[in-house]
């Protein structure tokens, strides 16, 4: 390396100047979070501890501590370049991870990389996520309810016993007094008397009406709905174990009314590398390939896939399934179990990608819609996610623990309204809310401790119905 002192000096002055000028562009974990989500989260786990398509990023700084910081920057900007140059650390990583190639980020500045490092550090050293507590205490409640019902039943029995005792005592007292006591009815007679029966019917009618009304109101709601999907997609694996950010796949949530069900090409971002699943092997992931027209054997997208006959498609994917079967079972030829496996998997692919309206295998994966609002309701994800800064789990529950996705919330109007009554508006730092001058004054003077969605008109009809 040439060591022209002038060059070095001028470079270091430049570097110094650069540092001075970029002082105001301080790296921050907040910025790092955004950058991480947009650039890294596709392949790297956001918990920074577990590997995903790419390695876990926790401890990156320590791993690179033996080399100059610039090497790390260079690695992030253009890893393949460094591998080609034969950098020892680069080679080490490449040998471990090839053929997975890290996408180059040539435009990323040093500050941005530092921000990401800060964020990685922060996430890596964070205590395990606090479990979202929505719905917590329900166990508690149900056990109490059980207690109440038991108490109620005991009291009923006691009162019937007491009532009988009082009746008997009265009877005895009357006999003792020499009077002729009224004829004493048996318990059975009392319960089948006209009065008791009418009372019972009355209670039943009331209960019936109550039940009809309650069920009528809930008509069409489907809390807990967990239909079978064309692909046995597990949120527990993707969002839970692998820790993929919700909004990596549901990328509409931050900018649209729809959270958006990811298109097959989004799946392919990872599944070009992950071709076989941990639970179902090739059975489920091949469905994605068959939908979009990707041949996993050759690692290429199939040209004019839409025009291929079903037999051709079948040949492509059964071959892949066969190969994988053989590869995992140390056999050289398909046995009867293997044949059955291939047949079943292919039938699964076919039945998942076709239905009464769609006869061809190529084309979109038609998922079963779970969350569905009536047509006269407008709900906007970006309002809640980007502006309101709500966590997805608040309405969707612990999706990262769901093997089969189910509707967590009732999605009823009462449920929406309740939340609007309680939720605080994210006033701070958003210039838009300057329009609410009086609230700002009241907050400042302490007359008011918070502004809820209700306070800015969140319960009005035309916020959602138009």
């Amino acid at each position: 390396m040439c060591c022209n002192p002038l060059k070095v000096r001028s470079l270091s002055i430049l570097l110094l100047l650069f540092t001075v000028f970029s002082l105001h562009a301080q790296p921050s974990a907040e910025e790092g979070k955004t950058l991480f989500r947009n650039t890294c989260a596709a392949c790297h786990n956001k918990n920074m501890k577990a590997d995903l398509t790419g390695p876990a990023l926790g401890g990156t700084e320590e791993n690179w501590a033996d080399y100059p910081r610039e090497d790390l920057y260079l690695w992030i900007r253009n890893s393949q370049g460094m591998i080609a140059d034969g950098h020892p650390k680069a080679m080490e990583l490449w040998n471990k991870w090839k053929p997975v190639v890290m996408i180059p980020n040539p435009d990323m500045t040093d500050e941005q990389i530092e921000s990401i490092m800060l964020y990685i550090d922060q996430e890596f050293n964070k205590a395990p996520d606090v479990v979202i507590t929505t719905g917590a205490g329900s166990d508690d409640k149900s056990s109490k309810a059980f207690l109440y019902w038991t108490l109620f039943a005991i009291l009923i029995v006691v009162s019937v016993v007491l009532w009988r005792i009082i009746g008997n005592l009265n009877h005895i007292a009357a006999v003792n007094a020499g009077e002729t006591p009224p004829e004493q009815k048996t318990l059975f007679e009392k319960f089948t008397s006209k009065g008791a029966v009418s009372f019972l019917i009355f209670v039943l009618v009331i209960l019936g009406f109550y039940n009809t009304a309650i069920n009528g109101i809930a008509f069409g709601r489907q809390q807990g709905y967990a239909p079978e999907q064309p692909i046995n997609f597990s949120h527990a694996v993707h969002a839970g174990e692998q820790g993929i950010d919700c909004q990596y796949c549901h990328d509409g949530a931050r900018r649209s009314r729809h959270s958006v069900i990811p298109s097959a090409n989004t799946c392919m971002n990872c599944h070009r590398a992950v071709k076989s699943g941990s639970t179902y092997g090739t059975a489920e992931i091949t469905k994605i390939f068959a939908s979009i027209g990707y041949d996993p054997s050759t690692d290429k997208y199939i040209e004019n896939y839409n025009t291929l006959s079903e037999d051709t498609i079948k040949t492509i994917y059964t071959k892949w399934i066969e190969d994988q079967y053989l590869a995992t079972s140390d056999k050289t030829e398909l046995d009867s179990r293997g044949n059955l496996e291939v047949k079943n998997q292919w039938e699964g692919i076919k039945s998942s990608l076709t239905n009464e309206f769609k006869s061809e295998i190529p084309g979109p994966i038609e998922w079963v819609r779970i969350h569905h609002l009536p047509d006269h309701v407008t709900y906007n994800h970006s309002q809640h996610v980007t502006v309101g800064k709500l966590e997805c789990q608040q309405c969707h529950g612990k999706v990262e623990e769901m093997e089969v996705l189910q509707q967590y919330a009732p999605l009823s109007m009462g449920w929406c309204v309740n939340c609007h009554r309680q939720t605080e508006v994210q006033f701070a730092g958003n210039e838009y809310y300057e329009a609410y001058g009086r609230y700002h004054d009241e907050l400042a003077s302490g007359v008011r401790d918070k502004v809820t969605v209700e306070d800015i008109g969140g319960l009005e009809c035309q916020k959602c119905h138009y």
Binding site: S256, S382, E431, Y436, C461
Partner: protein, 1066 residues
């Protein structure tokens, strides 16, 4: 009846206190239930119900509910893209800059698409031609994309009917039958596109005997010819209405239909807006015309002439101007003294504004156009208010060649005819003969999208793409280029018209193998012609910029001109329509134009701004005061009567409307109706009057004629669909018993006079309704004084509110409001159609309109005032006023309509139970009730797949038409009330945009659909709490008033009073 009226009136019935009209004017709904009585037998609905029926339905209902509850919830699917395009985020609209070229109309637009479906057009601010304005036709254009009558693919004739064919069949047929000796005729409208012209040129180069015949359905050929001979430039000049202090229109409806109405309206209104009420200034507009046009209704002074007097009036005006400016006088110009007097005034005004006046003429007579050119020349207007720099290319056609084509076809001299997107068999008076002759031609191909009259006579149908699916360009004015880009993949197996032309020409420049051959061709064309002078570094950059902007404009070149017209010869050749008892004018209507939009239900249902008639053309007849109690129509005809109209040998039975401002001895009727093959919505609507058009010596189409005979009443029209007496407000009447003036609208309130207090309301406020406030320019100062005083009075009356404390709430956050400048509103109806498109407002059809059931959220009320013989007109867009003390809200038994903290009068459709109390209680009559299932929202098979229409489903229930629906707005079902929401979906979207970007709300975030559609900027919407916003600037004008302010509704819509600049001596 005295000629001058103090108040305003809607029609003759309220002017004369017609008892029937007075009787029902206070009723919101003019008919009694049950509805079944008024529905025909074919529409049986069970309405009446006995107790037994009730129990039956109850039992069935419970049973059905039980069964339904036991059923599984239907499976709903969520279908993502396979490969999501980067530009599309589901749920977020994407806009594409494009242009609409339809007939002779041009409009530069942004097309709003949702999930790949075009659903709305907005004006494009970057265009130097339309400057962000739109028209009713442009707004309705998006619906024609989803026309169920469109061809699904190429067709060939077998016997009398079209059968499916392939493009190869057609190409083979064309190439097989044509050779270099073939006599080919290409019939087209004005070709505005330079690249389409290239493709035609390639075709004619290949086939030397091919000849292009271009014509305009409503012709301006005389104007072109006159400019050709007088100046050597055969083009429509560039008019600058914004530079004219005096505008004179002669038979030219330049605000409604003539050549480039969006552009002209925008420029014209620049000089009509009162910018400073204390120093008011505005232009003066004279209109000389034979019928009440939209432009005439906006004029300050209207000079009524008969068709037989048009030619001589122009000669007279020329002579009058020549006398003042030193020009040579010509012979002729004999006009009656009252017209002479009026024209002298016009000339006087013109002379006082030499170089800043403008005379435009819409007649189709070369000599008349030459005289008008001479007038402008004498006044020195060339180079100032009109010039030949950026000349207009929207009209280039000459229909005289069609007649020779007809003869050639009849004589068998023509081997092939290509009909390129025009419909001569309907447009021309000899249409039927033309179609017969065309059927005899060996090879005939039409590129029309639907099977129209001309296509039906062709051997092949080679349907072109709809413009929203196609690539293209346009040059509406010299140096102003508009790009057309597809906003959706072609719905059907159609092919770009230009591509067909190039394929048939066997062009080497067309790369047939590429994915979009014409796109490549278009790019090459722009790269060769426009890119070199653009100064951009690369063609890619240039192209991307043009595609983004939708327009590319180069500075106009200055054209030196010399006038060489022969006025003496011209004076002898002006049109001579023989005077007769009834003379007639045929005019282009604002809505359906020449008839090419006849299959568009939005336009059919849009009432004509002047006659207020929807679904059909009505014969406008003059009316006369009978001296006792009524205005009699011609021959005793009343509105909605049928009469026989005879001209020459043809007689048609036409419905009649009594039209104020229609001169005695004249009648008028609209063109473009009575299509025989107009499609599902267009066929049989109105009467075809094209057959009565005549040609002059030069072969040019004439739109005025004489010798019309109008019979007396021949019956009643079954469904009389004029809306002028629908939803009236502020009608004053005389109480028969007391002879006192009362409010007929709210008779119930007024008759309730137990305490003697109510009657006319405090200070007569119940009868002196503030609906229209207007003044003449000369009286503005006094008017402002009175208006301010009056408003103070109203506010004093209403300062006691039972809603005290609410004002404080409205000051937080936003409070929406609107301002409408009645001086800027020309009544063109663009806003009304935009509202329909934005808000999924249903089309109800002629029968329902006749029963007052039109659903429009925004109507444009037209009021007359002044001289009964020749009244002035004011247009008032009327929609929900979003009253802060809304009378509708507190009568709703279920609280379905209530107020928001942002000042919106909210309507929750799913809560509405249809009592209609609110509509009854609305003083502005803006609430609409879904009497029937207009949107077919209640139909079951709504989830059927495929976009093909099923013949059995009603209009708008098919999946193709439903693609036009705005997914942000609920489709309302039967039995609920609806009304203007101030485009709340746009407000929510705009607020969210501001929140997401963490900034204050800007005016640009929240614009209502009517506001963006308006070509003249008459409507301003905004947040009244935004002190720096546009709205608050407008709200400071002392000319503002609130409609019905005296009744304390506290409305959020302000109107700016109508000021006209009438020459009162004229």
């Amino acid at each position: 009846m005295k000629a001058e009226q103090n108040g305003t009136w809607v029609g003759d019935k309220d002017l004369t206190q017609d008892p029937d009209f007075m009787e029902y004017s206070h009723k919101e709904f003019n008919e009694y239930l049950p509805l079944v009585d008024s529905l025909g037998d074919n529409r049986s609905i069970e309405v009446g119900a006995s107790r037994r029926d009730f129990l039956k339905y109850l039992g069935f209902g419970l049973g059905a509910a039980t069964i339904a509850a036991g059923c599984e919830t239907p499976l709903k699917r969520a279908i993502p893209y396979v490969i999501k395009p980067d530009t599309i985020v589901p749920g977020v609209a994407t806009y594409y800059a494009s242009s609409i070229v339809n007939g002779g109309d041009f409009c530069s637009v942004l097309v709003k698409t949702r999930e790949g479906r075009p659903i709305k057009v907005e004006g494009n601010d970057m265009s130097g031609v339309t400057k962000g304005g739109t028209s009713a036709r442009a707004q309705a254009f998006v619906l024609s994309l989803y026309d169920t009558d469109r061809f699904r693919g190429p067709k060939k004739k077998e016997g009398d009917a079209f059968v499916d064919a392939s493009w190869d069949d057609i190409d083979a047929a064309v190439k097989g039958k044509l050779n270099s000796r073939s006599q080919i005729r290409i019939v087209t409208g004005t070709v505005m596109s330079p690249t389409a012209q290239k493709s035609i040129d390639e075709f004619t180069a290949k086939y030397p005997n091919a000849k292009v015949i271009s014509y305009d359905p409503i012709s301006s050929a005389a104007l072109l010819r006159a400019n050709g001979t007088d100046f050597g430039i055969r083009a429509v000049p560039d008019y600058h209405f914004d530079k004219a202090k005096v505008v004179v229109g002669i038979q030219a409806d330049f605000l409604g239909t003539w050549i480039s109405p969006i552009e002209y309206a925008k420029d014209y209104v620049e000089n009509r807006k009162i910018k400073d009420a204390h120093k008011p200034e505005m232009s003066r507009h004279f209109q000389i015309e034979t019928y009440m046009s939209l432009t005439g209704s906006n004029a300050d002074n209207r000079v009524q002439v008969k068709p037989s007097q048009v030619g001589s009036s122009i000669v007279y005006l020329y002579n009058a101007v020549a006398a003042k400016t030193g020009g040579s006088r010509v012979r002729g110009g004999d006009v009656p003294s009252e017209i002479a007097k009026a024209l002298d005034k016009v000339a006087e005004n013109l002379n006082a504004h030499r170089g800043e006046s403008l005379v435009v003429c819409g007649t189709n007579n070369t000599a008349e156009q030459t005289l008008v050119n001479a007038i402008n020349h004498l006044l020195g207007n060339y180079g100032h208010t009109l010039d030949f720099g950026a000349v207009n290319y929207m009209r280039k056609g000459d229909e005289s060649e069609l007649i020779s084509l007809l003869h050639d076809m009849q004589e068998g001299k023509v081997d092939a005819v290509f009909v390129m997107g025009c419909n001569p068999a309907f447009d021309m008076p000899f249409g039927n003969t033309f179609a017969e002759a065309l059927a005899g031609v060996d090879l005939s191909i039409s590129t029309a999208l639907t099977e129209d009259e001309t296509t039906a006579a062709c051997k092949y149908a080679a349907p072109a793409h709809h413009l929203l699916e196609a690539w293209g360009d346009a040059e509406p004015k010299k140096g102003h280029y508009g790009l057309i880009q597809p906003t959706i993949a072609p719905l059907f197996d159609s092919r770009q018209m230009e591509e067909s032309m190039l394929v048939w020409a066997g062009s080497e420049n067309l790369d047939v193998a590429s994915e979009q051959p014409y796109y490549e061709y278009l790019k090459k064309s722009w790269e060769a012609d426009l890119f070199p002078s653009s100064g951009e570094s690369s063609f890619r950059a240039f192209w991307d910029k043009c595609l983004h902007n939708g327009v590319y404009e180069v500075a106009p070149t200055h054209a030196e001109i010399t006038f060489s017209g022969d006025v003496n010869a011209a004076a002898g050749k002006v049109s001579v329509v023989k005077a007769s008892e009834h003379e007639i004018t045929f005019f282009e209507t604002v809505a359906v134009g020449s008839g090419n939009s006849a299959n568009n239900p939005w336009l059919n249902e849009m009432p004509d701004p002047v006659t207020r008639c929807a679904w059909g053309n009505y014969l406008a007849v003059p009316l006369t005061w009978n001296g006792v109690n009524a205005f009699d129509g011609l021959n005793g005809l009343e509105d909605g009567d049928l009469a026989d109209l005879t001209i020459g040998e043809n007689t048609e039975r036409v419905p009649v409307i009594k039209q104020f401002g229609q001169m005695q001895g004249t009648v008028a009727i609209g063109l473009g109706f009575g299509r025989t093959k107009g499609g599902r919505a267009g066929t049989g609507v109105g009467v075809n009057v094209q057959k009565w058009l005549t040609t002059d010596d030069e072969g040019l189409m004439q739109y005025i004629t004489s010798g019309a005979q109008v019979s007396d009443k021949q019956g009643k029209e079954e469904f009389y669909s004029a809306v002028q007496y629908h939803h009236t407000m502020g009608v004053k009447g005389i109480d028969k018993a007391t002879q006192e003036v009362i409010n007929a609208d709210e008779a119930a309130t007024v008759f309730n006079t137990y305490f003697g207090a109510v009657k006319q309301g405090p200070q007569g406020s119940l009868v002196e309704r503030s609906i229209i406030r207007r003044a003449n320019l000369a009286d503005v100062e006094g008017f402002v004084h009175d208006l301010v005083h009056e408003r103070e009075h109203h506010q004093h009356l209403n300062d006691q509110s039972i809603y005290a404390g609410y004002k404080e709430l409205y000051e937080e956050g936003h409070h929406w409001g609107m301002h409408i400048d009645l001086n800027a509103c020309t009544g063109c109806g663009a806003c009304a159609v935009a509202c329909i498109a934005e808000n999924n407002v249903p089309v109800v059809g002629k029968e329902e309109v006749s029963r007052h059931h039109e659903m429009t959220w925004l109507r444009i009320d037209r009021y007359y005032y002044g001289d009964v013989e020749n009244p002035s007109v004011v247009y008032q867009p009327m929609m929900c006023q979003h009253c802060d003390n809304a009378p509708c809200e507190n009568v709703c038994p279920v609280n379905a309509t209530n107020h928001s903290s942002e000042g919106l009068n909210q309507m929750a459709y799913n809560r509405c139970v249809g009592t209609r109390y609110c509509a009854n209680n609305c003083p502005y009559k803006v609430r609409r009730f879904n009497w029937l299932d207009y949107t077919a929202a209640d139909l079951w098979p709504i989830n059927e797949r495929g976009i093909d229409a099923d013949a059995d489903v009603p209009w708008a229930a098919d999946n193709l038409t439903r693609m036009v629906l705005n997914p942000d707005v609920t489709v309302r079902a039967r039995g609920v009330i609806e009304k203007c929401s101030f485009c709340v979906q746009r407000l929510q979207e705009g607020k969210l945009r501001a929140k997401t970007e963490m900034r204050s709300l800007r005016d640009a975030d929240v614009k209502s659909a009517c506001q963006t559609a308006c070509p003249t900027g008459a409507i301003t919407f905004g947040d009244t709490n935004n002190k720096k916003g546009d709205l608050n600037k407008k709200l400071s004008s002392p000319l503002n008033y609130i409609v019905l302010e005296e009744v304390n509704t506290d409305a959020s819509v302000n109107y700016q009073a109508r000021i006209i600049n009438k020459d009162i001596d004229a």
